[in-house]
């Protein structure tokens, strides 16, 4: 919505350099399309990448409008750090995890779309009318000593308390992440390698790989258990869903395939 306003702003002001206007009109559809696509995309990874598109375009806009610091911060912090973390989380959770698409409240989606579009239009037209005829001013004074210096000056003078108090926010966030995600191991609950392997094998587990079905067997059916070297059958070689059974001689005979002269003939 603010983009619309910016568009109106740039279009109304005749002093906009061509390069700036061209960049804007190229990137604005990309930014908007990315934002809309982010909402519509079914795949969470696509959503995140589309959002990256939007954020990158916004970063370029900030740079264009003589705010290089915020533009770079937008690209480095938001796009570079936060969105990549986002992608990591999506990958960890599993990109196939999908939201349930069942509407819990009837007609909620329709109402949300109507209200959202209505709100966007209200703000967009309001802003276009509000700032459409305004020429930006004060930029040169704000950037007199350089953009970064200007921001630093504000940050460390007038807004120093807000800046310091932000640390409380960060502490809270760190504590919150710990509280919600960290499970403390009780003493004795953390097992070392020795205990782990003892736990694994004291039950009498066979440590090697399972023998495949049909190995040393009387037939090559997957249902026939393998015979161990000592001559006993091992049930472990047969899938649990296949009942182990002894086959009759005809059943166990190799089936006729191409090249067999005659059905049932043993070669």
């Amino acid at each position: 919505m603010s983009l619309l306003a910016q568009g109106a702003l740039l279009a109304a002001d005749n002093t906009v350099p061509t390069g700036e206007a061209v960049t804007f009109w190229i990137l604005a559809p990309i930014a908007l399309g990315g934002a809309i696509g982010m909402v519509l995309a079914r795949n969470a990874v696509h959503s995140a990448l589309l959002l990256v598109c939007t954020m990158l375009s916004l970063g370029v806009f900030y740079v264009l409008q003589a705010g290089p610091f915020i533009g770079m911060v937008q690209i480095i912090v938001y796009t570079g750090a936060i969105m990549m973390l986002f992608l990591f989380v999506i990958m960890l959770v599993g990109r196939h995890t999908r939201d349930s698409l069942i509407e819990v409240l009837r007609g909620q989606r329709l109402a949300a779309v109507i209200l959202g579009v209505g709100f966007a239009m209200l703000l967009g037209t309001g802003l276009a009318r509000g700032v459409g005829s305004v020429t930006a001013k004060g930029l040169d004074e704000a950037n007199a000593n350089g953009n970064v210096e200007g921001i630093a000056k504000l940050l460390f003078t007038k807004y120093i308390f807000a800046f310091e108090v932000t640390s409380a926010l960060l502490i809270t966030a760190a504590i919150g992440a710990m509280l919600l995600a960290h499970i403390e191991k009780k003493p004795g609950e953390k097992l070392d390698q020795k205990v782990l392997s003892r736990n694994r094998f004291t039950k009498g587990n066979y440590p090697g790989p399972k023998s495949g079905p049909g190995v040393f067997a009387t037939s090559d059916s997957v249902a026939t258990p393998a015979i161990l070297p000592d001559g006993t059958f091992t049930e472990r070689s047969v899938s649990k869903v296949v009942p182990a059974r002894e086959l009759t001689l005809t059943e166990a005979r190799p089936k006729a395939t191409n090249g067999n002269k005659q059905d049932g003939e043993i070669r």
Partner: protein, 509 residues
Amino acid sequence: MNDIQLPAIDYAALLPMLIVFGAACVGILVEAFAPRGWRFVIQVSLTIGGLVAGLVAIIVNRDLEITTIGGAVTVDGPGLFLQGAIIILGIVSLGLIAERRLERGGPFVAEAAHAANSDGDKRQEREPGATEVFPLTLFAIAGMMLFCVSGDLLTMFVALEVFSLPLYLLCGLARRRRLISQEAALKYFLLGAFASAFFLYGVALLYGYAGTVSLTGIREGVLQSEQSGILLAAGLALLAIGLLFKAAAVPFHVWTPDVYQGAPTPVTALMAACTKAAAFGGLLRVFNVAFETTAWDWQPVLATVAILTMVVGSILAVAQTDIKRLLAYSSVANAGYLLVGVVSLNGAVGSSLFYLIAYGFSVLGAFAMVTLVRDSEGEATHLSRWAGLGKGSPLFSALFTFLMLGFAGIPLTSGFTSKFALFSSAWDSDQSVLVIVGVLSSVVLAFPYLKVVVLLWLNPPGEETPTVSVPSMLTRAVIFAGVAVTFVLGVAPSFLLDIVADAGPFLAK
């Protein structure tokens, strides 16, 4: 060229906040370094000590009226009063947060990371609760204190986040019924983040209008700005949405019943008392300082919101069957009464402050009593379970009845005096329609309170009436404070009315 000068900082004015922030940071260090068995005792004493020290600093500062750090913080009479109110209500609600006798290990879960009802969750059922809740509470209270004295919208936004984030966390840490508690936390977090975005958008538009985010700057900008008034109106509307969300005004109230019901009851009490005070402190300051000169534009809108809030809150309270939800809707309706105070501007600042104290103590007492009614599943909050409690526990029922009558606004309680003071000053400010709606809606709102009273005394006890547990001294002190203040402000309100009258108007220069 680049001579950056730090503006003059009046550390005395910031001292109360610095003390509480400092105590919170020390609390975090205690979590890291103190042995596990000692943490609870250290945290409780540290928290209470920090809050009391902050309160002392506020009392020492009581006559201070100063704008410091280049206008970022404005310490004035109402601001100091609100800070003091938040600290006092915070100390009282701490009694509920630190209660460990009603339930083994306290009302908070030991390790929130265990999935609800998993094996790990069952194992930790009887372990002592997380002690991180104390520094989190301190951070929340410090944020609220800053919120009430912010001189510009940027500081206000940071303060809003500082007090919201710990509350989102605390909501999800209930020991019993963990799923509903986590749902409450998530709901509050998502909607709160949404409201914060509105707030920020409003700040941006107001900056576009006035060229500054300081409240006094916006006040002057209204008179001088060459920008289109649309920016002012849209910015004000979006800013108000962010603030009204925290204040739980209709139509931004939908989170209230769910969050109040799901959050651990001590946190619900903290939110109902302190967050309400902070939110209305912010609303009063923003509208009295920044937008007083445009009052003609926004008063009708805010009056509509106030009427909606009073009517919807009181009517929906009638239909509730859960005591925590009932108190949540009653808090929505009370937000409506307080909005009448906001609409009435300077004339009603003092009585709004009085109302915040009176309501805060009553609601703390009421939620403290809700924590006592228990069965094997934890708190029994469904109203049908409360039937006939008066037979077995007459003292409990008598005190709860008194608080309910206080909410209903019966004379000799603070509910009456505070409503009377608020409505009469609103009447003097020519808000007669709001006063009439307010009186009518408080009549409607008396019905659910009296329904609870009838339920307690006249209904026969059910099959499995829960028991009223015997709490430790902490919860007893909270109940005593709630009932005593409700009574004292009901019969002798003049000393507090004098204090709020002395607090004077907001500093607007």
